[in-house]
Symmetry: C2
Subunit: 463 residues, 2 copies
């Protein structure tokens, strides 16, 4: 007889009611009376468990009564309507086979544990309600992203993790090496001879796949990356991790307007998908993690995202009468307080800011005719601030070369990138979405360490 | 008016015939006569291009006639049935706007280039037929894998890339560090003080996500990883890359039989999906890359994969009468020549070999009652040899601890892994599929450097 899953019992209850079923899973709770008892069994397929009723008709009644939390068992029995409150159905056990009676020292007994404590048990925490919900949603959101792009004809590109170029220019990098640190090869001047390293030169972990992604955009029109990226920044905040996943789509023959349309429809698609696919988990988040989560997400789904320029935003901030910690003037990099005022208080919905001063944005963004702003866009969302950053890319070889030189970088380090402007240059745009950031937004979890299976942060690479 | 894609013109020809269309793309070929000309435009959305006919009615006829290969253009015109041979329809241009006339030094003019040469132009090679087909198929196969697992209720896990444990035990690793190699912190004994490194200890790039994957299996029942893995092996072969992607599913309450069923249905699903979704690319591979590719793949789709034990396989090899370079005896690690004999000559279909000698397999594989073999499985396929390797996992705490000790490893390095055997141990199984290997199998490409966008191999980390 086929094994059933708890999910199938919930999703197709009518089909299984009054039938024999077999469930394999773990004891979440157990209560035993003199002649009978109840076990809540979770099999990992579903957010909720199923109640199993057993009594002295079991040949191993004694063994079953003494089972400890998280013991692994197989239950055969009939699925029946439940007499008790709290569940619609339960299994009347005819046979319970014990795979293993769990060690009594199980560190996650049924009581409240802090998220901090659970981080020290990262290998066990997905068994708890909160982290079971978080990591299932993480999986479903990842799939939603692939589905969205693939069904729209985008090509998925694996851009390299180990990079030999230091031109990605977005922060401090991790060195990758096979040199023996206790016996480094040296050049005549006494410095390390990187030519002896595995790749014949210094290599690092990537901080962004964008530049390589653009090369594929010039071949496949619309592409996306979805892979791990790294920052060697020594910042111990709830928002920073050293290793995180990023999605970077790039679209050809597309201006900033098309870029914003893509970002808006992607965000809405993801949220709708996860609300449809994970109703139990999302309800848990709404009830226990972030009150008002559904209102926040429904507001995103039902809004036309706002669009305004950076210059207009500065104007709004100046006229707001608000006292900000960081004074507002044209040219500043907006701080979280400014972004949140705009999204939460002023617009009360997600809003795209565009056309930022070139001096606070990356070299590859397309220069506007005014010569001082670039076709950048940031998506600011209520409750989190910046969630997406992107731009139309500079497609003029001359302007791009000038900009690279002006910033003191070397054009020869960017030959492959400049080639895209020599050989069939085309208007194109793209953006980056931090995967963990959207997971935090959707779940209401406030620490990035709690949405990554095994987070890496300064002084922490456990498991 | 909405822009069209070349793909939509091919897939929905009837809808667009005799209508105005707008295409943005690149000049693949151009032929001009005195008063008219033809351009093959490729827009990246589709394997094939569309023919555009232009004549002196264009206001910029002179400019268009002189366009160089890979110039970027926008074409407005009517889609009509083609008079010429070789295409069913073409666009009669009414307007052609030039984004950029490409530099004449374009290195990929329309002539044959060797794959070796094209590797030096990895940023441009996806624009060629072969690599456009390879990398679109790569993307579609990636999606097929996600779709297969997600639709079967598997949870996708991002296992860590940077690992602080050296217990993954599958080959040489890349060190990850932020220490300044020219000024290393030293301990009193003169060796490097790794406690001063970013994570407070030595860290490396992962070689496998399996052990972390198992922790999620104990929470979600069925899970899979799909991410980059690394080997710092100095082997310059057509089959080895330093950075490659791997898929590692792990299933709970599942023995080796269930594991084989999963692997077989996954392989068939992937092949069928890509043949359905990429008919033009697959036909190209069948015609130009591997003669007989369709026969090979159809044979996989239509076979029930064979199943036999390692011991039975040794017997077949011994009785084969074949002279092998590596002599056959019970206990040897099978070589490619043995694997290919079994799959190609003897069974003529994919075949699972199971129950290998424990001494040639990993420590975590479940020991058979005979005490000398383990519940391993390798899937051998005609034309490639081993394509999948997996096992049922040892779920007995005692046997696993003994095995770790017996192999001279330290149980304390495996605490999190042993915890899974302390707290609700359960039968489970899983396998690893090298992503590039399945892409090579499906496309017929024979060098791993030609199925990775920007391959990393010893002395090569360009782009």
């Amino acid at each position: 007889m086929e094994k059933n899953t708890v999910k199938s019992l919930y999703r197709e209850t009518e089909k299984y009611l009054d039938q024999e079923v077999i469930i394999n899973g773990w004891v979440k709770k157990i209560r035993d009376q003199k002649n009978f008892g109840f076990i809540e069994v979770n099999d990992g397929s579903f957010f909720k468990g199923v109640q199993v009723v057993f009594d002295t008709r079991l040949s191993n009644f004694e063994e079953v009564s003494r089972l400890s939390i998280i013991s692994s068992i197989e239950v055969k029995g009939k699925l029946v309507k439940s007499q008790g409150a709290g569940q619609a159905f339960e299994i009347m056990a005819e046979e319970i086979n014990v795979f293993q009676k769990a060690d009594l020292e199980y560190p996650l007994q049924n009581k409240r544990h802090t998220f901090e404590y659970l981080r020290t048990k990262a290998h066990l925490r997905p068994r708890t309600n909160t982290f079971s919900a978080v990591f299932r949603v993480r999986s479903v959101v990842a799939y939603a992203i692939h589905k969205f792009f693939q069904e729209n004809g985008f090509v998925y590109v694996h851009t390299p993790i180990i990079t030999g170029s230091d031109c990605e220019g977005a922060g401090e990098m991790f060195r990758v090496t096979t040199l023996d640190l206790n016996s480094l090869p040296k050049k005549e001047d006494g410095t390390v001879d990187n030519s002896k390293d595995f790749f014949g030169k210094e290599t690092n972990l990537t901080v962004s796949g964008q530049l390589s992604g653009e090369t594929f955009c010039s071949a496949f029109r619309n592409i996306y990356t979805f892979g791990p990226t790294f920052r060697a920044e020594n910042s111990n905040t709830a928002r920073h991790a050293s290793e995180f996943w990023m999605i970077e789509p790039e679209i050809a023959f597309a201006d900033l307007e098309a870029n914003m349309e893509l970002a808006e429809s992607m965000v809405k698609y993801i949220i709708k998908f996860v609300m449809d696919e994970c109703p139990e988990e999302m309800e848990f988040f709404n009830n226990f993690i972030e009150k008002g989560l559904f209102d926040k997400l429904n507001n995103v789904l039902n809004s036309d995202f706002g669009r305004l320029t950076y210059t207009e935003a500065i104007d709004i901030l100046l006229k707001s009468g608000k006292k900000f910690d960081y004074p507002v003037e044209w040219g500043i990099d907006l701080q979280s307080e400014h972004e949140r005022y705009l999204a939460e208080e002023y617009f009360k919905k997600p809003v795209f800011l565009t056309d930022y001063p070139k001096d606070i944005k990356a070299f590859y963004m397309k220069l506007n005719p005014d010569g001082k702003t670039v076709r950048a866009m940031d998506l600011l969302a209520p409750g989190i601030g910046e969630i997406i950053g992107g731009s139309q890319r500079e497609d003029s070889l001359e302007i791009l070369e000038n900009r690279i030189t002006e910033l003191g970088m070397k054009p020869e380090d960017y030959e492959f990138y400049l080639d895209l402007r020599r050989f069939g240059s085309f208007p194109h745009s793209g953006y980056g979405l931090g995967f963990e950031r959207i997971i935090m937004y959707i779940t209401g979890m406030t620490n990035i360490r709690d949405v990554i299976p095994f987070p890496r942060t300064p002084n922490n690479a456990e498991f």
